[in-house]
């Protein structure tokens, strides 16, 4: 095991990784921008290094500063968390060149899977089911139009190097294709500095189901079951659960098996996630691989009892996976809600600020991963995720009631601060979600239904 790990991230995930390190007896180095001087992980860590100003480009994305911080503190390894440098192949390579272990897959694997077109080719070759569409980047609008016509409308145009729900456009009819194609290319160029796009059939009423995989250096590759992330707003996940409800018999196992095949084909190591689209007819299709720990990893931890971050540290330090496929047993149901500092009444605009009151939920089978505390000034410079509220119960229905109870307990307030707690409660109580008959369109449907309606006031746990 490592002696000292530097965490190249901030917010709740930095604290999550720090806690795993502490349990394993590994010293923790935090890095932070001037904006995060008073952050929870800075006080939690054994050492902390200020690496730059608020702008992420000059701090959390500043490779030389992070490498220097690792060198000056003598860290053996860097955990990148999610976002920031976690899926930057160059960063993994620079770590290797400086004899620092990057806690994640090898740089080449990140590069191959990070490019959506090479990932699609590789996974099609490994036998993963693909949506009709292009396997290679498209060279002209005529070629793209032909692929779209063959795939059948609606189609989605996606940036080859895109991610995080950005750089994509949906086209419902042939006449609108050329225009959307040009727009998506321009957007991809602006967002990712790479205008290559690909086209595939779009499933409007699909579900988003993903498989957690894990591989070590000894040829062991396993999966830890599925997570359902169907509740999304503009391709941003709001709520995740495991197991995925109402799946046809044997489907989760089939998805797990093909994900393992895909991971082996890619030469994978560490924790990764295979994202799939599940069509209403029960067919599933490969979407992409995320080569890092996911925001929603706790739901898998809750149903399997396996600490994914500790396992990442073990595997990266050259140990074997501590579990075999037959040891992975999913028990009960877990749900995670992402509590963001956003105002649902103002189109989910970020609403950070000074958090004067911060009382996390408690009680049995409730877990809160957060960097928040009373008196914390949440900066506007970064992501709006403030807390992840996770519950476990023997059944999905019980977990749903437990989540509703826990959401009602969570109190966060301050001048100008708004959160998604109320909206998440509405989602948890929504009949389609309760019956697990929802699709990725559920949030838009809720917002459409709400337009013009008075705001629903749900009773709070605390008067």
């Amino acid at each position: 095991m490592f002696g000292k790990v530097l965490i190249a991230n901030r917010g709740e995930i930095a604290l999550r990784v720090a806690r795993a390190c502490r349990e394993l007896g590994v010293a923790v180095v935090a890095v932070y921008s001037t904006e995060d001087q008073d952050s929870a992980v800075v006080s939690y860590a054994d050492e902390a290094v200020q690496i730059g100003p608020a702008a992420a480009k000059q701090s959390y994305l500043n490779i030389p500063a992070i490498i220097e911080a690792a060198r000056m503190t003598g860290a053996d390894a860097i955990h990148p968390g999610y976002g920031f440098l976690s899926e930057v192949a160059d960063f993994a390579e620079v770590c290797r060149d400086n004899d620092i272990t990057f806690i994640g897959p090898p740089a080449e694997v990140i590069a191959t899977l990070g490019d959506k077109t090479t990932a699609r080719q590789l996974m099609a070759g490994a036998g993963l089911p693909m949506l009709p569409g292009s396997l290679e980047p498209l060279n002209s609008v005529e070629e793209a139009q032909q692929v779209a016509d063959d795939a059948g409308y609606p189609v989605i145009i996606k940036a080859a190097t895109g991610g995080g729900g950005r750089g994509m456009g949906v086209v419902y009819e042939r006449a609108a294709f050329a225009d959307a194609y040009a727009k998506t290319r321009a957007g991809a160029q602006a967002l990712f500095g790479d205008s290559r796009v690909y086209v595939e059939r779009y499933l409007p009423a699909g579900r988003h189901v993903e498989i957690q995989v894990f591989a070590d250096d000894f040829g062991n590759t396993i999966h830890l079951g599925e997570r359902d992330c169907t509740v999304q707003r503009r391709h941003q996940k709001l709520l995740e659960e495991s197991p995925a409800p109402r799946l046809p018999d044997g489907l989760a196992e089939r998805m797990g098996d093909v994900a393992v095949n895909g991971a082996i084909a890619a030469g994978y190591r560490g924790a990764g996630t295979f994202e799939f689209l599940l069509a209403p007819d029960g067919q599933f299709y490969f979407m992409e691989v995320n080569t890092r720990i996911q925001v929603e990893h706790p739901v898998t931890e809750m149903v399997t009892g396996i600490d994914l971050v500790a396992e990442q540290l073990r595997v990266a330090s050259g140990e074997r996976l501590s579990i075999r496929q037959q040891d992975v047993v999913s028990t009960g149901a877990a749900i995670e809600c992402r509590i963001n500092a956003e105002d649902p009444e103002r189109d989910f605009a970020p609403a950070p600020g000074l958090i004067e009151e911060f009382v996390p939920s408690g009680g049995p089978f409730v877990r809160v991963d957060t960097h928040g505390f009373a008196g914390y000034r949440m900066p506007a410079s970064y992501d709006s995720l403030l807390a992840k509220l996770v519950v476990w119960a023997p059944t999905r229905e019980q977990a749903r009631h437990r989540m509703d109870r826990a959401l009602a307990e969570f109190r966060i307030s301050g001048p100008g601060v708004h959160t998604t707690i109320g909206f998440l409660r509405e989602t948890i109580r929504h009949p389609a979600f309760a019956a697990a008959e929802h699709s990725t369109a559920i949030v838009e449907q809720m917002l459409d239904a709400r337009a013009g309606q008075p705001e629903v006031d749900l009773p709070s746990a605390v008067a």
């Binding site: 604290l15 001037t34 001087q37 008073d38 929870a40 992980v41 800075v42 006080s43 939690y44 290094v49 200020q50 690496i51 730059g52 100003p53 702008a55 992420a56 701090s59 490779i63 030389p64 500063a65 490498i67 220097e68 911080a69 060198r71 000056m72 620079v94 400086n98 602006a190 004067e356 911060f358 009382v359 996390p360 408690g362 877990r367 809160v368 957060t370 960097h371 928040g372 505390f373 009373a374 008196g375 914390y376 000034r377 506007a380």
Partner: protein, 162 residues
């Protein structure tokens, strides 16, 4: 993430707001307890110590991180004393090359933009330039020492900008 243009505009706004705030703080008799500057729709918030400052009671459930950590910023310094702070994380070199005379020493006057040291980060030599003019009163870090971003390296007296 905000796009570059917007970020640049925000930066400029923030810069203005910051300078105005610094001026405001300088014009006031008491040291403010907290100053918050926002760039979005420009707002400046200043809080003073009112008798006994209300202690933000950290309601700390076992799971949540404990009280906010002590801030790294040191207490208010003597007026007139200013610092030149490291522009990057890395190793500090006070001289242009081994054995050479240091860029600056105690008693030297520096002008804004003058190189006062080098920071080495990943074999890249980054010039450390004075953000403002002053006369060096102390060198707070040794040659070859590791420094963080924003760490105080030189203290200096204010001088009238020549």
């Amino acid at each position: 993430m905000t796009d570059d243009k917007e970020a640049a505009q925000l930066n400029e706004l923030l810069d203005h707001a910051f300078r105005n705030t610094a001026q405001l703080a300088a014009d006031l008799a008491d040291h403010p307890k907290a100053v918050h500057v926002r760039a979005g729709d420009v707002s400046v918030e200043v809080a003073w110590q009112a008798g006994q400052a209300p202690q933000a009671a950290p309601t700390a459930p076992t799971e949540a991180p404990a009280a906010p950590p002590p801030t790294k910023q040191e207490p208010a310094d003597d007026p007139g004393v200013r610092y030149l702070t490291a522009p990057a994380v890395g190793v500090l070199y006070l001289a242009p090359e081994p054995g050479a005379a240091p860029f600056v020493g105690v008693g030297d006057t520096v002008t804004a933009g003058q190189q006062v040291a080098i920071i080495e980060a990943m074999k890249l030599m980054i010039p450390f330039e004075a953000e403002h003019a002053g006369r060096i009163t102390k060198v707070l870090k040794g040659n070859g020492e590791a420094v963080e971003f924003g760490e105080k390296v030189f203290s200096c007296d204010e001088i009238d900008a020549a």
